[in-house]
Symmetry: C2
Subunit: 310 residues, 2 copies
């Protein structure tokens, strides 16, 4: 129906890459232990739906994040679809070695744009936390693996509130120096709004190519899709999302977490933007994991499409 | 934090009017009977929060919509805050007489842009349904009341699917002829996406002034806020929303309904757009009605702000 005659929409990206983070970022924030077989099933369903990149595991210490302790088993259990990138979080060299053993395609390192958040969550400054990633980044690049860098709290922090653009840009520069192929700006607590997102994305794009810059938005305040629209209008075309809106917000119990993949895919379909992903298959995967977790499906497009199908 | 340097955001409306439709459109779609005293309390809380317009009742036949049968009692029970417009739906002259008895400030008439929807929901064509409103509109104008016209299914229909722009424009012309002070384009089933919204709003604005054109979006597929952002970028600055996201979707059971007022207000605050409405008071009103109905609060900003307050 949309005939694209409005300049704003004619200039949107023709194709958007969606990185599915539900099996890692999403499940990590869900209460309760998820059986390894369920994780394997979920990753397989998502890879088959057409995602080019599925964040599948986290090789952090099981003392910190026990719900991700079965990363190796998950990676060994899944079907490896050729062309799909299976990525994993690796906080240190020990995690990197485990990720290598699990044969992941992409190593994900991470920092925060908020000094207060870094101090509370990694017991050190931003600079110290990035210093610890130097050997990981070098090893990954030497091994010819893809390297991705995630930056939390780019649009606000639960401890310090506002996060200046210069702090975001400083971390982007450090992660770029480590050789990151892709860097994502995360709104960890979902506080950002459209104008702010446009402002940050436009400015960061002056120092790091938009073609390798991703947006990772949370729907805590319902702003996920409008933030993605705002970022796309600047030219951003890589986004993270979570099937069934898996994940919560540890800083606001009962609040929504990651923006739902189904809602994004519905938007992209309406805008005529290619993703290469089968929305119906994602809706089914979202129904599967919501039922497995015994929780309400947080993807609104998912719920509506499931209701229509019945 | 947002410094407005991006042209797109500098040109957004400085002020947006939000019409709160929760007590009518929202509660009408909720299961179960809501006590009159609860409705009165809700309308009072919303008017005190600063809304210039609260859609408070519906004077339709109690045989059709029994949950709205206490419209007169609601209107008589509420505190009438000077300057606040209390509006009510009136399908015919009998409803109009009741609305007059209840001393409403604004009469709301309605039609559909979808012929299939009109046939199924009002047993007649669009033209016939609007013909029935001729005496209502005349009486309202003669009495010096405000007259508002709502058009359902402007972005898609549960029966016929696509709805052509020309059909929307035809109904806008008919309602304008009846003397409507304000006309709203409703996405009754929430299927519209941002580019389509921009396209429809831009075209309708060529025939009816944007200053009197409103957007009524549903969040069934999660598109509410991105659609509002798209409409604002065209210049639209009147929107309808429902506290706590009250309301559902009769065409997709279990799906989300009206876009939540709290989510919109959070967006406007982030964009620096004035609304004159106290977000905290709306969050409290949303908590009140969610608890009264025994249902989950569907406003994501509402849930997050309530969680943060605890």
């Amino acid at each position: 129906m949309f005939d694209g005659h409005i300049a704003l929409y004619r200039s949107l990206p023709k194709r958007v890459k969606i990185i599915e983070v539900g099996p890692r970022d999403g499940l990590q924030s869900e209460a309760g232990n998820v059986p390894t077989t369920t994780k394997v099933d979920l990753v397989n369903r998502l890879a088959r739906a057409g995602f080019a990149n599925v964040e599948s595991a986290s090789f952090v210490s099981p003392k910190w994040v026990p719900q991700m302790a079965d990363g190796l088993a998950v990676m060994r259990g899944i079907e490896r679809i050729p062309g799909t990138i299976y990525s994993a979080l690796t906080p240190n060299m020990r995690g990197y070695e485990n990720a290598r053993e699990a044969n992941v395609d992409e190593i994900v390192i991470f920092s925060s744009a908020s000094e207060a958040f870094a101090q509370r969550n990694v017991n050190g400054s931003i600079a110290e936390s990035i210093e610890r990633f130097v050997p990981v980044a070098k090893a990954a690049k030497d091994a010819g693996l893809r390297l991705r860098g995630g930056i939390s709290c780019c649009f606000g922090c639960p401890y310090q509130g506002e996060v200046p653009l210069s702090a975001v840009q400083d971390v982007v520069a450090r992660l770029a120096d480590l050789g990151c192929d892709e860097i994502d700006l995360a709104d960890t607590i979902g506080v950002g709004t459209a104008g702010q997102v446009a402002f940050v994305v436009e400015n960061v794009a002056r120092q790091f190519p938009l073609d390798r810059l991703a947006g990772h938005f949370h729907d805590t305040y319902g702003q996920g899709l409008s933030n993605i629209l705002a970022a796309m209008q600047i030219g951003m075309h890589i986004f993270h999302s979570s099937v069934a809106g898996l994940g919560g917000c540890p800083y606001a119990k009962g609040a929504t977490g990651n923006v739902a993949t189904e809602d994004i895919l519905y938007l992209m379909a309406g805008l005529g933007i290619e993703t290469g992903i089968d929305l119906d298959a994602v809706v089914q995967a979202g129904d599967f994991i919501s039922q497995a977790l015994g929780k309400n499906n947080a993807a609104r497009a998912g719920r509506a499409l499931l209701a229509r199908a019945h």
